[in-house]
């Protein structure tokens, strides 16, 4: 499955990046979303994949017998997911404000601070 | 619904969620429910009468029957080429008055295949539904009024 997921991850990275390379900030934000899915999945696969053995200690036991899914990447991904929620919300507010202030969603119109 | 009753219901729901019916669990659930209701005070603005259990059961049976019969009809239409349906939007006059009555009626009509509640008029006297088989609008309306509405009012009043 990891082989399949590897291609999914790559595909998500590619799709996310492609969207971010568009001129519209709307697409930019969608691209960011895809990118964070990719990163989360990648992180998730870091511990290896174990089917249907969540890291939960059974009620009648003090420990859990392997194999079980590695809880560490899960905790990390959970953190990353929640963070990316915060970030996405902020990014949304940002592009909303930007669109209101600048009057366009075209990234090419947003070069005044460089040049 | 009486807030106290609601509170007890919440306490029971709590026990159910935990899957352990004990007194202490009930007490905690009750306390939690109280806190939640305190924060959600506006939710419990009205009072509702107690229900009659057999009417509920009757409604349930009727509902399941309708559900299955009509599902087959839709399934047939969905799975065969071409359509036999004659859809239309119907205005069904309402006898139901309270929020709960209207909601329940609307939900039940929506859940039975063939009819889907679209809206309630601003004066709350008309229910607009989308019916897939509206060859005879009057019949559809009648079936709703005499099938569901009567039973719903019977349960809730």
């Amino acid at each position: 499955m990891i082989v399949v997921l590897a291609f999914v991850i790559g595909g998500l990275y590619a799709a996310g990046l492609y969207m971010m390379l568009r001129r519209s900030i709307t697409k930019l934000i969608i691209g960011l979303g895809l990118l964070s899915h990719a990163a989360n999945l990648l992180l998730f696969t870091a511990g290896g994949l174990v089917r249907a053995r969540p890291p939960l200690i059974p009620d009648n036991s003090e420990t859990i017998q392997p194999p079980f899914a590695d809880p560490v990447p899960q905790a990390l991904v959970l953190t990353a997911i929640v963070i990316s929620f915060g970030v996405t919300a902020f990014a949304l507010a940002l592009i909303h404000r930007a669109n209101r202030v600048i009057g366009t969603d075209d990234m090419d119109q947003m070069k005044a601070t460089d040049v | 619904m009486n807030p106290f009753l609601l509170n007890i219901l919440l306490a029971l729901a709590w026990e159910a969620m935990n899957g352990e019916f004990t007194f202490e669990n009930f007490a905690v659930g009750f306390a939690l429910g109280f806190v939640i209701l305190f924060f959600a005070q506006r939710v419990t603005g009205e009072t509702v009468y107690a229900r009659r259990v057999w009417r509920v059961l009757g409604l349930l049976v009727f509902f399941v029957k309708e559900l299955i019969i009509a599902n087959v009809r839709v399934a047939y239409d969905v799975l065969t080429p071409g359509y036999q349906m004659r859809p239309g939007v119907l205005a069904v006059p309402l006898d139901a008055e309270t929020d709960e009555e209207i909601m329940l009626l609307a939900s039940l009509t929506s859940l039975t295949p063939g009819t889907l509640n679209l809206d309630v008029s601003a004066d709350r006297r008309t229910l607009y539904i989308h019916a897939m088989y509206a060859d005879d609008p009057a019949a559809v309306k009648r079936s709703i009024k005499e099938g569901f509405e009567r039973r719903v009012l019977g349960v809730l009043r």
Binding site: V3, V4, G16, L17, T26, N40, T79, I95, N99 | -
Partner: protein, 801 residues
């Protein structure tokens, strides 16, 4: 010694305060300190002449090799005396010259800083300490040259000086560090003792070149000579100081200091001598064509510096002797001449020699000083400078074979130009008929003639009785240069010899040059331009630098986010992909791929499909909904592989995100297909490269053996010690609670950001107006840079060429 140097710095910072109280007497008051120091150093003459070396050490930054070490030997003593002595005179002179000017306090501050830095430089017994003072002289002279800061020319000259000497300084630093590394330390006495090892080192040549770059720029050697005349923008007392005793001689000092370490090799000889000789002639020629008194003196200084450097390059006993005497004499007469020039300017209102004449009648005292100094400049008469000239000629005549053949005519030409210049600058204004000048000329105040008179008199006295300094000052200095002591005897008259013949030829030629100066000035513009090209080069390179920088910056900092992203991603792909292929390639094991369940593949395929649809979607909602599907399917993956917490979180968050997306995107313009096909294809390639790299990474990482040490630990302790059965949650709130603490803070900040962005409104600006302003701002930005235009376009030809 240490106290003396530090006290000058202390006085510098007190100067503005003193200036406020002492007013007109500030110059006299401040001169007390350098005068005292002059006396102090004079008392050391005896000791040093007996071959003693005085060293004082204080720790500063020993771990970097920077120590407050001061070292007094013959060479540094001579310089210290000149710096303090002339410094005192210049302070007195400045008090009168600048009377009533604004910012006088700052002027004294800079001047004293400069003096302190210069004194520190010559006394430094640690290479890095020397560099510290070296840079301080650059900075303080920058501040002094730009003293008339409202004048663009002054600023430009200051910048020029700073860049040239600063650049040289950086080279010097590298050179000194290399020297330090060769010799194992930065202590000057130790370095002086280990010259052989240095010259034998493979790093000798780079170190030499770097040190020379520093010295040549500082001492205005060709082709770096052009900044020095520019420094004329400084008030005259500064010019006097700069040119006579100090800053420009810092390079000469450095070469003399290091001559016994770096000198004596072929590289040293060819480079130093030829640069010096070229500078000598170039300076002379340029001086000859000037009519501004200060510029004439400035270029003649360049010429003199060239002479000194040439002598240093020769590395012979004679040359060392000639160098020390010439340097001493030059300090005396050039200081006097600059003060005279200042006095003339001050009294008459002009420095144009063609408009000056007959001043001896109205400024008799000044005239006496000027004539003595002028004679010294010409290298004639019973003055110290004549001895120097003779020694110079001797040294050149004693040079080896071909070198002699080149150097002798060069020296004669240089001397002839000196004569012509002396006539033009020192003698001509005082003789002949009194000419009309902007101000009615009369004698300068005592404070202004005191300096020139003392210096000129000293030149005369020492010239008549050279024994006064031969053993006490010159011999120890020569010993320092040579690295061994060598008896020195000086006499005014050496009898008729080849050296005298050279002087005579030079005198005659010089007189002729002076006679036909007008015609020559008119007819030989080419020779002027011949030596002007370095100045042009400086300006051109500055312009090119700006152009190149502007272009590079415009290309890199294009303003297009996607080009930034493309560059970043291609960097990643290039680095990671290349390394992956070359160093981490492992044949992939696809056998394991067979134990895949079809619904897993189904979910995976749906993710890709949904991503594709999100990319291709023409509607905002379609894209958002597809993104949602990606998220839901990712949640399904989590469910399939034992991560219920993750699945729940992912699903909850995906839904909330979709809601927020819908809320916001609806206010944005509809999606439009703007990019052209080639752009899309290019981006597609970039994106696919990136995706492919990440896929490869995951596949390779998967093959790396893995230990589940941590998860086993958590599995064992989660319930028994942390009282939780959900290991993921226990990790979040206990094992790795700190992550969570940080994370909720991130969330808090993000939410505040959302709130602030949407609720905090900028003061309502009219959008149209803002756009217009912005456009005009952009247009302005594309016009050439302001100050650069000032620097490049308005360079007055006469001044730099």
């Amino acid at each position: 010694m240490t106290t003396g140097i530090l006290s000058i710095f202390a006085l510098a910072f007190l100067a503005p305060v003193i200036c406020r109280f002492a007013r007109g007497h500030t110059g006299w008051l401040l001169a007390l300190l350098p005068a005292t120091l002059t006396i102090y150093f004079a008392t050391r003459i005896g000791l040093v002449a007996h071959g003693e070396r005085i060293t004082e050490r204080l720790a500063w930054v020993p771990s970097l090799g920077v120590e407050l070490t001061f070292y007094l030997d013959g060479l540094s003593l001579l310089f210290a005396l000149l710096i303090c002595g002339i410094g005192a005179l210049v302070l007195i002179y400045a008090g009168a010259y600048l009377k009533g000017r604004e910012q006088l306090g700052r002027f004294y501050l800079y001047l004293l800083l400069f003096m302190g830095a210069m004194l520190g430089l010559v006394l430094a017994g640690n290479l890095l300490l020397l560099f510290v003072f070296w840079e301080l002289t650059s900075i303080s002279s920058f501040l002094l040259i730009g003293f008339e800061h409202k004048k663009a020319e002054a600023r430009r000259a200051a910048l020029q000086a700073l860049l040239i000497t600063g650049g040289g300084g950086l080279a010097l630093l590298a050179g000194l560090v290399l020297l330090g590394q060769i010799s194992g330390g930065y202590d000057v006495p130790e370095l002086l003792a280990g010259g052989d090892a240095v010259r034998a080192s493979t790093l000798y040549l780079p170190a030499l070149l770097l040190v020379l770059a520093g010295a040549f720029t500082k001492s205005a050697q060709f082709p770096f000579h052009f900044w020095l005349p520019g420094a004329m923008q400084a008030p005259t007392p500064v010019s006097a100081y700069l040119h006579s005793a100090t800053m420009v001689k810092a390079g000469v000092y450095l070469l003399a200091r290091l001559a016994s370490v770096l000198g004596g090799t072929d590289e040293w000889f060819y480079i130093v001598t030829s640069v010096g000789a070229a500078t000598m002639v170039a300076g002379g020629v340029l001086a000859f064509f000037q009519t501004d008194l200060k510029l004439i003196l400035a270029y003649s200084t360049v010429s003199a510096l060239g002479t000194l450097v040439m002598l240093e390059g020769l590395s012979t006993d004679h040359a060392a002797r000639a160098m020390v005497v010439f340097l001493f004499a030059h300090a005396l007469y050039k200081g006097a001449l600059f003060m005279v020039a200042g006095a003339i300017d001050h009294e008459t209102g002009t420095r144009d020699v063609t408009r000056l004449g007959g001043l001896r009648r109205v400024m008799p005292v000044t005239a006496v000083a000027a004539v003595i100094a002028g004679v010294s400049l010409a290298g004639f008469g019973p003055v110290f400078s004549f001895i120097g000239k003779e020694l110079l000629n001797e040294a050149v005549l004693l040079a080896e074979g071909t070198a002699r053949g080149v150097l002798v005519p060069f020296t004669i030409l240089g001397s002839a130009l000196f004569v012509a210049v002396a006539c033009a600058a020192a003698l001509r204004p005082f003789f002949g008929e009194l000419k009309e000048t902007p101000k009615g000329a009369h004698e300068a105040p005592a404070a202004m003639w005191l300096g020139p008179v003392i210096l000129a008199a000293l030149g005369l006295v020492v010239g008549l009785a050279p024994a006064l300094v031969a053993g006490s000052l010159v011999a120890p200095a020569v010993a320092s240069v040579l690295g061994r002591s060598e008896p020195v005897e000086l006499a005014l008259w050496h009898g008729f010899n080849a050296a005298l013949l050279m002087s005579v030829i030079a005198a005659v030629a010089g007189a002729l040059l002076f006679r036909f100066r007008e015609r020559l000035r008119g007819g030989t513009a080419w020779s002027r331009n011949l030596f002007a090209f370095p100045a042009r080069g400086y300006e051109l390179s500055l312009t090119w630098l700006h152009r190149a920088a502007a272009m590079a910056t415009r290309v890199l900092q294009s303003g297009y986010l996607r080009s930034y992203l493309t560059i970043i991603v291609l960097t990643t792909v290039g680095l990671v992909g290349y390394t992956l292929l070359t160093r981490a390639y492992t044949p992939l094991n696809f056998a394991a791929a067979r134990e895949v369940r079809f619904y897993e593949v189904g979910v995976a395929a749906l993710i890709l499909l949904a991503a594709l649809v999100a990319v291709r979607s023409r509607t905002r909602l379609g894209a958002v909904a597809s993104l949602g599907v990606v998220g839901y399917c990712v949640a399904l993956i989590f469910i399939l592989f034992g991560a219920p917490d993750l699945a729940l979180t992912q699903f909850l968050i995906e839904t909330l995100t979709v809601i927020l997306l819908v809320l916001v995107l609806h206010r944005l313009p509809p999606l439009a297909l703007i990019a052209r096909a080639p752009a899309r294809a290019r981006d597609l390639v970039v994106a696919l490269l990136f995706g492919g790299t990440m896929t490869a990474l995951v596949l390779v990482a998967w093959g790396v053996p893995f230990q589940q040490q941590a998860s086993n630990f958590y599995a064992e302790r989660s319930y028994t010690e942390a009282h939780g059965r959900n290991i993921v949650n226990v990790i979040l709130v206990d094992f790795r609670g700190l992550d969570t603490l940080g994370e909720i803070t991130v969330l808090s900040v993000a939410a505040i950001g959302v709130y602030a962005l949407l609720k905090l409104r900028p003061p309502e600006a009219k959008r149209g107006a803002a756009v217009v302003n912005d456009l005009s701002a952009r247009r302005r930005e594309s016009s050439p840079d302001g100050e650069l235009a000032e620097v490049v376009a308005r360079a007055p030809e006469g001044e730099v060429s």
